[in-house]
Symmetry: C3
């Protein structure tokens, strides 16, 4: 699926370095309403990238707090009925104030409860949706059904087609994590080819890269597709560099965060591998 | 208390390797309703052992989700009134569907609230109960009292006797963590002699090994005693191997998880030390 | 601001070593009602220092449990309406029973909700309040206003003056974390000059040192200022020692906890740097 070597392959590493540099320079405040498992790694990922995390989830303070953030990350990993209203409130406020927000529909296919929650959140206009293949397929399919009725002819089980359809239906950039990460706005498709397989054996790496996407989008909201691909690649590069010192998932986690913190221009320019698909 | 060298000492390492191999091969889905402190290490322990963790605790989705899991782990470490109904619902559903579930009665003696919660959960037929000596003694005593009345003549303060009594009263396998881990079905007693003392200076190691027990039991439900002893030993071996590179509790935690991930047949066969008591 | 070399510079390291030794000897039970992000690092910090952490937050068991603890740590990092009553209940009970409790007013200036919560908690007589400069300034200002009315002439934006005013208004020891940590009872001011800048790139280091303060205060409640300065310095020394092996924030976190665990008398005596200001 990868296209011939294009001029853009030299352009992307430069773009990616610009995004990372801007995040480090501005230290954007990223509000995360996320699952309990991911909070530690997500906060440390944002801190290591130069952003400023804020895990604030109470409806009682979202009206005061959310107007001051630069982007919002919503993750339904440990969703419960008492947290959902805050997610909606924060997403609604972000959209109203023109701040980007990013959705991570963890295990959206696991229950009707999750699916309904995500369908409600989709109405609040996320800038980016990032999930794995199954999640994007489940969400895309349900989104089509809720739009076109259950008898929708849309029966695709292909992640790329699902991602494109979801992007078109919602107006969001959609990212699908996998061996190659795919990012699409419904028309353009790019692939981010960084990362190592062992990252999947560390809990919350997917959640954490979604928060990193929020940080990257916050510094250049008009180029959300580029920001998303860049964040995925930067996290992947950190994983690749961490892997060279790792003996297993726990040491990889540590070296990955250290690498993200220390990532320099030369490493970004030589390692980032993003291509049109 | 350890018996003479028995033939089974060479049989156990082989059994243990079979359990670990099966977990890696099948990657069982383990639902964990656990305390906030343990979520990160528990998920990473399961991932490193080859299992698939799911921290899902909302009553709104348990009816959809729990039927798809291979085992359930319930841990009351940060118990609160709003989480308890979900624990009961998931445990009840698991028992009804013939799926094994494992109880970790953290600090059960610390309050009447915890004790009552555990007594209610015991009615829902856990396959395994794992705690430290004080927890098992407190739970066993309360269980006897609730069965036989407060004037019960049962006054044992010995962990082994308490464990046997609790196993007989509940039908569960009972494991007591300590210098030697003890596992009993009320009649048979085996000791798992692996691990290092510094593991107690890492938060959530006890919680995490309980989740590992759930994974091991899920691949051979009919041999829950063997699965429990094997999981305790595997975790202990990972700790022993991690200890050789550790400079303190935090590096031990990292090397322990790395070791669990990389554990090979030779290490299991040479290190697992389980004996009849 | 630092005064001339004083005799006390040789007295403080000795005091600090006595505090750490007592914590290790007595292993005080420290109840933590804290934010979700910090639970893992906070529990591991306490364990590595020799204390015994208990993350117990349900109002249903505080009446049973809190009477048995040696100190309480309350942190509002992920405050929500359903957790606040338990914070008040535990703080009230601690004060009533003469047990010290410590407040970490995380992001108190971020919302009226947080500010009101902290103002209510201040009435329950914390022994120590620890925050960063902005937090202490925000809390001190609000505290003055709530006492003297909104038209208060108090307009200081200096952290030290704010800390002194807050200490006088509340009777608590107030600690301000920064390049130099400042500790005051409103009259005396000491500076703890240990630590490294990279600790701020690890989530929950501030939360964790607040819990360590609770542990130190618990072993000598009558010298809360000394206990607070000592805890800040010990954590800073662990960071300095960890830094010598660190390649970034994640490896610093690991080496810092290992160093805290292994900290010996010689390192404490040679490194602790506390001075009168």
């Amino acid at each position: 699926m990868k296209s011939e070597e294009e001029p853009e392959t030299s352009v992307w590493p430069r773009k990616t370095w610009t995004f990372l540099s801007e995040v480090r320079r501005r230290s954007p405040l990223i509000q995360c309403i996320t699952n309990f498992v991911s909070m530690d790694l997500m906060a440390n990922t944002l801190l290591s990238a130069g952003a400023s995390p804020a895990m604030i989830h109470s409806s009682d303070e979202i009206p005061d707090f959310t107007p001051h953030v630069h982007a919002l990350c919503i993750n339904i990993g440990t969703l419960s009925g008492d947290w959902f209203p805050a997610m909606k409130l924060a997403a609604e406020l972000s959209s109203k104030l023109g701040k980007p927000w990013v959705l991570d529909p963890v295990a959206v296919g696991a229950s009707r409860f999750r699916l309904n929650a995500c369908l409600e959140l989709l109405k609040l206009k996320p800038a980016v949706i990032r999930g794995n293949g199954s999640e994007i397929i489940a969400l895309s399919k349900a989104s089509m059904e809720s739009t076109k009725g259950v008898d929708s002819s849309h029966e695709s089980i292909d992640a790329l087609e699902s991602a494109k359809a979801l992007a078109e239906a919602t107006g969001a950039i959609v990212a699908v994590s996998g061996a190659i990460d795919i990012v699409t706005d419904g028309k353009r498709v790019v692939g981010a080819n960084n990362g190592v397989a062992m990252m999947q054996r560390i809990t919350a790496t997917g959640c954490s890269v979604t928060a990193l996407i929020a940080a990257f989008v916050s510094v250049d909201q008009l180029h959300a597709l580029e920001a998303t691909a860049s964040a995925l690649s930067v996290f992947g590069v950190a994983g690749e560099m961490g892997m060279s010192n790792a003996n297993g998932p726990a040491s990889l986690r540590m070296h990955m965060i250290d690498s993200l913190y220390g990532l320099d221009e030369a490493s970004v320019l030589s390692r980032v591998n993003i291509t049109s698909l």
